[in-house]
């Protein structure tokens, strides 16, 4: 065994260099954890879906709407417990930069189907009595400072108001979900208000997505097959999938972006590995006389190998630990910043493990070359400073 005291002391031999190395390792591990967290957060949305919920949309894509009367036909399929409908409103509050999702919904069935969307009983009550009522996500309320009783005017970019003015929605309450599949930045309002207002302008309303909950005991695959069968000769072809699959499909539309994030992570890894090898070689060059002394005193070649491997592992673990800690500590701030693109950003335990593994791996990999040199160096060469 090499003298362990040297691990710590050599770290402070060139404090600035050690700090810089630890910091750059910390930055890299932080970045890798952050990039992975974005990907896992996006994936978590799909992974947390209730496996008994299905989505029905047009086979031609989200742009194409489904007729209203499909709901009654879905309801009749054996094994369907509840059906509810969503329509994308596509409006904006004052300016396009204030982007958030709005959906017209049936409150009763929607709340029954999404228990993760927690709403106070009072709010449900107010929602039932006021036609223009809406409920808004807790993050959305915080972002715009909206509270119960406020009126939110939305410009109907996709669904213009027949009187050529902004739609107005009265906040009946807030909802909150702590599941990653249901974000907290959406506004839900009543379907009947939506439908009646559109009809005033002579536009027939249609449905974006129908959501189905399969009854306990019913076979999900069978229900999917049956639903698709019902509409196989109807005017709009439909696509019925589990909600998880629906989410995954939606995410696949992000295109090659997740792949780019992975590339960036790989680039970061290479950059930091190269930098660590560099530092360890510098350290080894500087400690060459020490290697000579230690070997002359009777420390073995193997123990010198271990000494350098440990030094580099120690540095990497310090930096990596700091990086993982940084990723965890900044998660709430990043989460707030990414609310729009990756709601519910969180650093998963798996990501912490990944950061730790990266840190653990970088150390020995960066240290192996200097460690091998330290092992093969003879005392005489060391004293000559070779």
């Amino acid at each position: 065994m090499p003298p362990i005291v040297l691990l710590w002391r050599n770290l402070w031999r060139r404090p600035l260099r050690s700090i810089l190395t630890v910091m750059s390792l910390a930055v890299a591990v932080f970045l890798i954890c952050g990039l992975r967290s974005i990907i896992t957060t996006i994936r978590a949305a799909a992974d947390n879906c209730d496996p008994r919920r299905l989505a029905v949309m047009s086979a031609s894509g989200l742009f194409v709407e489904l007729p209203l009367h499909y709901q009654a036909r879905i309801d009749k399929v054996p094994g369907v417990e509840i059906t509810t409908k969503f329509q994308w409103f596509g409006g904006y509050y004052r300016s396009q930069k204030n982007f958030f999702a709005q959906f017209a919904i049936d409150p009763e069935t929607m709340f029954a189907m999404y228990p993760e969307c927690k709403v106070e009983p009072d709010a449900i009550q107010r929602m039932a009595t006021d036609r223009t009522a809406c409920i808004i996500g807790s993050s959305l309320a915080r972002e715009f400072g909206w509270k119960v009783g406020d009126t939110i005017p939305l410009v109907g970019a996709l669904h213009p108001h027949p009187e050529d003015k902004a739609w107005e929605f009265k906040v009946a309450g807030l909802y909150h979900s702590d599941r990653p599949n249901f974000d907290n930045r959406t506004l839900f309002f009543r379907w009947d208000y939506f439908e009646e207002t559109l009809k005033q302008g002579g536009v027939p309303p249609a449905v974006g997505v129908y959501s189905i909950r399969v009854a306990p005991g019913a076979d999900v695959a069978q229900v999917i097959a049956d639903v698709e069968d019902v509409f196989k000769d109807s005017e709009q072809r439909i696509d019925c999938t589990t909600e998880a699959e629906f989410q995954r499909q939606f995410q696949s539309m992000f295109g090659n972006m997740p792949l780019f994030l992975t590339w960036i992570g790989a680039g970061v890894l290479i950059a930091i590995l190269v930098a660590s090898v560099n530092t360890m070689l510098m350290a080894m060059r500087e400690q060459t006389p020490d290697i000579g002394i230690l070997k002359a005193l009777g420390f073995t070649d193997g123990s010198m190998f271990v000494l350098f491997l440990l030094q580099s592992t120690f540095l990497a673990l310090l930096g990596g630990g700091l990086g993982v800690f940084g990723a965890l500590a900044t998660a709430p701030f990043i989460s707030a910043g990414l609310e729009m693109f990756a709601p519910g950003y969180a650093v998963q335990p798996g990501t912490v493990v990944l950061g730790a593994v990266v840190a653990l791996a970088i150390g020995p990999i960066a240290g192996i070359l200097p460690a091998m040199r330290a092992r093969s160096l003879t005392c005489i060469a060391a004293f000559r400073g070779e």
């Binding site: 750059s24 890299a28 742009f63 194409v64 290479i270 950059a271």
Partner: protein, 406 residues
């Protein structure tokens, strides 16, 4: 008196492994940043080439993009007739209606994606005679269930080759040609307006485009600016845009095509610049640390030499400059390595979601002069910042102390 530059250059060469590793580290960082920037440039290029100032885009008031907008066929025709600024061609006004839809297709990377589907009238090809061409096969025949597919889609999306059949809802359409356009149309599927509307069960086109008579100014406010303003942005009184917006028959929001396209890019473009900038800042820190480490080691190893330089009469400032120069060269070589790593990506096509319309846009990485310039500038900055402290340390050494140390 300045320290000879060859002194520092030789030192970089003598310390081969440290120089090489630092250069590689800086190179990787520069490659990450310039790669992201190349993506943004490709995206920006795609949307801005082909954006014409003499083509007007008419949307329904309140709509933010063509996906939101909607005109019935009658109102579209009425609109075209009511605008005297539209250029007249041999077959009547150079104005056409377009439907903007999306088709759920399977990209070769797996999953699904919404590919933009555009229904156009023959007049569109008159307006775009110079930009859009059919590079393979032939154009679709009006009134038939035929499609032409954007060149950038062919290798990325299943079923997009000539002879393939794409099913729109329930109607099979045959792919008869490849459409080539440097701009966004190269990532779209085009077909006959009326056939597309019928097949997809839609009742009207989404927007009207028209070529303007020479010298016409629309006076529309920049929609890209409107995206970030807190209040709605109205066109100035007396302009064509104001007149059309307040039209009693068919009110419309009008802007030039260039303006429209820049409003469509601003969000994703901004996001990519933000990501690139953020990565550049964070990774730049790491790269600066690396460069600084190398230079510190270099100064430490040459303490004696610096002592000799000082004792034979060199002033501290030239010594500072000479080490800064060394760091700059280190950064610059790293930047060149980064550029070399990024160059192979030039032209590689990628897809990303347009958050404004939820459709996929196909575009290619674009490693242009701008990307290379930023990469080189960035690497020089890395070298200078990383080298400043070590160079200052070198200059501050006292000759006696420098000589005494081993």
């Amino acid at each position: 008196m300045l320290v000879p530059l060859s002194y520092n250059l030789r030192s970089l060469f003598v310390r081969k492994s440290a120089t090489l590793l630092t250069v590689l580290g800086v190179g990787a960082v520069v490659a990450i940043v310039s790669g992201t920037l190349a993506l943004q440039q490709g995206f920006h290029h795609m949307f801005t080439t082909g954006g014409r100032d003499d083509v007007a885009v008419f949307l329904r008031p309140g709509a933010t993009n063509e996906g939101d907008s909607q005109f019935s066929r009658d109102r579209g025709l009425k609109l075209i007739k009511s605008v005297p600024e539209i250029e007249i061609g041999p077959n009547g006004p150079l104005a056409g209606m377009e439907a903007y839809l999306a088709l759920l297709l399977a990209p070769k990377r797996g999953g699904v994606t919404n590919v933009p589907l555009r229904g156009v009238q023959p007049v569109t090809f008159e307006i775009r005679a110079k930009e859009v061409r059919i590079s393979e096969g032939r154009n679709f025949t009006p009134g038939h269930d035929e499609l032409v597919v954007g060149a950038r889609l062919v290798d990325r999306i299943e079923n997009c080759r000539i002879g393939d059949v794409l099913t729109l809802n329930k109607t099979p359409f045959k792919v008869v040609g490849i459409l080539d356009h440097d701009g966004q149309f190269g990532g779209e599927i085009w077909g006959d307006l009326d056939r597309l509307l019928a097949a997809m069960g839609r009742y009207g086109p989404n927007r009207v485009i028209a070529q303007l008579k020479p010298g016409i100014e629309l006076g529309s406010p920049d929609p890209a600016k409107a995206l970030f303003s807190d209040e709605p942005v109205e066109p100035d009184e007396g302009t064509v845009a104001a007149r059309l917006l307040k039209d009693t028959e068919v009110p419309a929001k009008v802007c030039t095509e260039s303006q429209y396209l820049s409003s469509q890019t601003v969000m994703l473009s901004g996001m990519l610049v933000f990501i690139g900038g953020g990565l550049g800042f964070i990774m730049g820190l790491a790269a600066i640390f690396t460069a600084m480490n190398t230079m510190l080691a270099s100064v430490a190893a040459r303490t004696r030499e610096i002592g000799i330089l000082l004792s034979i009469g060199y002033r501290p400032f030239p010594i500072f400059l000479s080490f800064l120069f060394e760091a700059l060269v280190l950064g610059l070589i790293g930047g060149l390595v980064g550029c070399v790593l990024t160059l192979p990506f030039n032209g590689v096509s990628a897809g990303a979601m347009n958050f404004q319309t939820f459709t996929e846009m196909a575009f290619a990485f674009r490693v242009g002069p701008m990307v290379l310039l930023v990469a080189i500038g960035f690497s020089i900055a890395l070298g200078l910042i990383g080298g400043a402290l070590p160079a200052w340390r070198a200059a501050r050494l006292r000759p006696t102390a420098a000589l005494r140390r081993e």
